[in-house]
């Protein structure tokens, strides 16, 4: 492996580690990474893209649901449950945590709390999205430079 690849590999590993370290993602994400192999080279990205799509839809739905004059907390809760499930599946730790708080707010029918949670949730989501997209970008660079998995 030449220097560029090694450098990129280093960067990739560092970045991934920082994401773990800062708690954006957890071991579950490694689970996904382990599932990625030659037969399924883009698995992580596919799952995560699906997560992005799904989450954005759910966030939209949540925004709509919480904008109603009479909030259907059941509906909100089910959306949050979905989001919690998917975030836990890909290991988006922080999103998952906010989801838990969100659900407890739903349980208490606390509309203000839900709204704040939604804000926090969106920000956490976009944060992790950003991070993961950066990760993928580095990964692609790494691949383009001739690197390969498993490292």
């Amino acid at each position: 492996m030449d220097g560029v690849v090694l450098q990129l590999q280093r960067k990739l590993i560092d970045y991934t580690n920082s994401l773990f370290h800062e708690g954006y993602i957890n071991e579950q994400f490694s689970q996904l990474q382990q599932l990625q192999d030659e037969s399924n080279p883009n698995f992580v990205m596919e799952v995560v893209s699906l997560f992005f799509q799904d989450s954005e839809r759910l966030l939209n739905e949540l925004g709509k649901a919480l904008g109603q004059p009479v909030i259907d907390f059941k509906k909100v809760d089910s959306h949050v449950h979905q989001l919690k499930g998917s975030s836990s599946s890909i290991g988006a730790q922080k999103v998952q945590n906010v989801c838990m708080t969100f659900r407890s707010c739903c349980e208490q029918q606390n509309a203000d709390g839900c709204l704040t949670c939604l804000q926090v949730l969106s920000s956490e989501y976009f944060l992790v999205k950003n991070k993961l997209e950066t990760l993928f970008k580095i990964e692609q660079q790494f691949m383009a430079a001739g690197g390969s998995f498993p490292m």
Partner: protein
Amino acid sequence: MEDYHMDEAELEVVGSMWPEDVGDDYGSQFNIEKSGGEDMLEELAFEEDPTVVDFQRLLELTNYSQKGSSQLAYLVKSWEFKQANAVRLLKEELDNLSNLRKAHELKKWEIQEEHRFEEERVGGEQRHVSILDDSYDILPKVPPRKSHFIVQRQRVEVDAEFDTLLYWKQRALNCEKLLAESVQRERILMEKLEENIKKLETQSSPVEELSQILKRADNFLHFILQNAPVVIGHQDKDLRYRFIYNHFPSFKEDDIIGKTDEEIFTGGGVKESQEFKQEVLDRGLPAKREITFDTPLFGSKTFLIYVEPVFNKAGETIGVNYMGMEVTDQVRKREKMLKLREDIAVQKAKETELNKTIHITEETMRAKQMLATMSHEIRSPLSGVVSMAEILSTSKLDREQKQLLDVMLSSGDLVLQLINDILDLSKVESGVMKLEATKFRPREVVRHVLQTSAASLQKVLTLEGHIAEDVPIEVIGDVLRIRQILTNLISNAVKFTHKGKVGVRLSVVPEPECSVSQECRKKSSSADHSTYASDRLTDAKTLSSEAHSNENGVHCIPARNDPEENGAGNDNSQCSSVGDDDEDRRSSDMTVWIRCDVYDTGIGIPEKALPTLFKKYMQASADHARKYGGTGLGLAICKQLVELMGGCLTVSSKEHYGSTFTFVLPYKVSCTPDNSDDSDDISDLIDPDDASSTSDITAGYFEFQPRISSSLYASGRPKRNKNLAHNLGFDNFHESNEFIDRSYSSKQVPLPVDVSRVSDGTPESISNPESPPSCCSDPDRDGAESADRFTMDQDAAPDDGPFTNNNNVVPPVTAYFDADRSRGGEVSASTERGKNDQKIQNSIIPEENGSGSLLQPRILLVEDNKINIMVAQSMMKQLGYSIEIVNNGADAVHAVQRDRYDLVLMDVCMPVMDGLQATRLIRSFEETGNWDAAEEAGVGPSSSSSPASTLDSFEPAKRLPIVAMTANSLAESGEECLANGMDSFLSKPITFQKLKECVERYLQ
């Protein structure tokens, strides 16, 4: 020289004649700008004089009021000052003049000296003129002015020789000339003086001047006030207006003067202002206040009102001056700002609060999750160890090995129990413990628990149960929890009692207030028994009862119902069923408080230990802990459970004589017919001919006599079981349950009743312990038979809550008699609750699955979350399995109806139908061979596959492994999954390892 003097004098006089600073001083009092001020005023046109004055009053005021007089005094003073100034100036001038005169006199004297004869001539013309004396008598203080001439000393140069005629002539001429000049000067001075006098005369009189000043001040005031939104007024001591200035006059003078506020206005604020003025009047101190008026006259307006009292010279208040300024907009703005600020503050507080909550929740959730996960994680391998040990115990072992194994099993069970306790506690504490409302018969429960305890009893103790007659035959409550409490208390009692008896007493009590319960306790305990009521009892009670009613949707209606009537109601199956008429149901439901005493003749509890008795991880003493073991969680859980159900748990005890634990719980009594809402089939399976049922239903006393227990381990067991069997009227003992029995034998936790294999006369199945699967899942056996066979109390099966509730889809036989099954799976030994019937859900042993494993196993994933599906699918792919996917419970049921699967991975929380219900439906099919329950739920099999064909294609006994995928939250507990017929559960997120283990376990 002469001219110089003249000029000087003139300058001085003119300069100081009317000093400008007088006017300035005066003017500054009013802040009048002198230059142009008058011009400005002249340009203004005072079109309207809004001032309305009662002049009479003003005069009075100036005459009598202090303010008025001081004002007057001030004016006089300033005038006097002005006059004094004028006097000073005049005096100066006088001095000047007198100086001049002196000089002149001197001069004259010299001349006279020199020319005596001439002196007489000119002397007549020289006289003193007092210019002021006559004309200025107005000012008597001014001294009479002395008039004098300015005479210049002048040397007269004479050319002629001294004392000659010429000389004298010249001299005379010169003198003549001087005289003429002197006369001239005198005349000029006279003119000057006259001029001055004239000036003085034209000087305005003080009154004129004062009124002019007043006028100017008045003009300025008008100028200032003409656009000001102020009202200025004076009111007398009856608060009648005497003067008002109002820029927006809405009344004529007559409408206001002489009237009070209240006479003029009506509406909000008028009275307040009136009172305020009165207050100022009474107190004699000025004050400010904001008053909001709401009058029909000018609408809603806020005025800032300043009121000051006016005193007369004697110091009495004679009225008030008041000034009002409209500040409506300002007030509105201010209030808006305040509100905004408040809102912001509230918002901020909320935000911080929420952030805190989020943080705390996160932390707690993490901790709770950690605890739950840890417990699960510990429990799984441990149950592996325990089940292996159990299996080992069935193999051929020598006596020593058996003993060692027993110790191992009991230790393992103890740890399992501890973990279950911790799980229970954390569940109750986190509020996710859900209470069920099921119908059950208290007598049955007491008997079961006692029987269970008796079964594992290793001491010479009598277990007895007294149930008062008025205890309803059937009540509604969370029977599992109640059994758990009862079992716990009894096992506790047994543990600390070495001889004598342990008993349970049930009776109906009125709704306990705190005092009531205390009284009860006293009554029940002997006089010197120390009593202890847990503190915060009432708090906890209210809280938990709230929780209770919320969670169950059950509203406790406290009632001192007549038990007889209830009994009648129970027997009377004509009442409407639960689902049909909610209203009716509520009215027919009554709450009955049943008090349950668990008493023993044991070692008792020292008084000082009572306060900590219900605390977590606390035991009466370290000695006890050593001697008796245990976790110290049992009572804490009991207490929390009791409080969760809205009751209270108390204890009274006397050391060395025994203890009595009492809990009083509310139960609902329903007159709903027994099996109206029971989808369960077991109710139909009662043997109607069983005579014992009727007597048991109302039995009031049970007793389990002590047995002789010689050995705990080997020979004792069969005997003990015989004894038990005898008590129960059965005399058959089955070998296959021995290991289960044994697993509980070395500790005091009672063995669940149902573990004892009971036969109703089919000994052949029992006599074949080595072939357990055949007896347990024998497809030939119909449900009725198996239910009969494996339910210890034949009569109880249909009515007993726990059975109907928890086993409605799993025949008891499958649940707990299939000893061999436990080889392949885990035994979740939750003995502490005394409901193994629910707990031991054994997984299917691989051999049973043999036929399926030859082919590629079919795995069904029931999951609604796309991402989870993707992940699970990918993992399965790596494991070499392909899976089928459906998205909800209903689809899962359909899928199972259509095809056969070797494993179902079932999400718990899903739309349309959740995993628990789907599992129940599938289990119901396996149990009954038909999809009736599913059809009832709206997911019956499609017409293409008739039930008959389904039956044919399936071996109904084959139990489809269903593994739950729980969100690992406390609400989706593994226990619940197991209770609903699932075989085990995986907590989400699913990891490769977990999935692999699961698949390997079920698909071999």
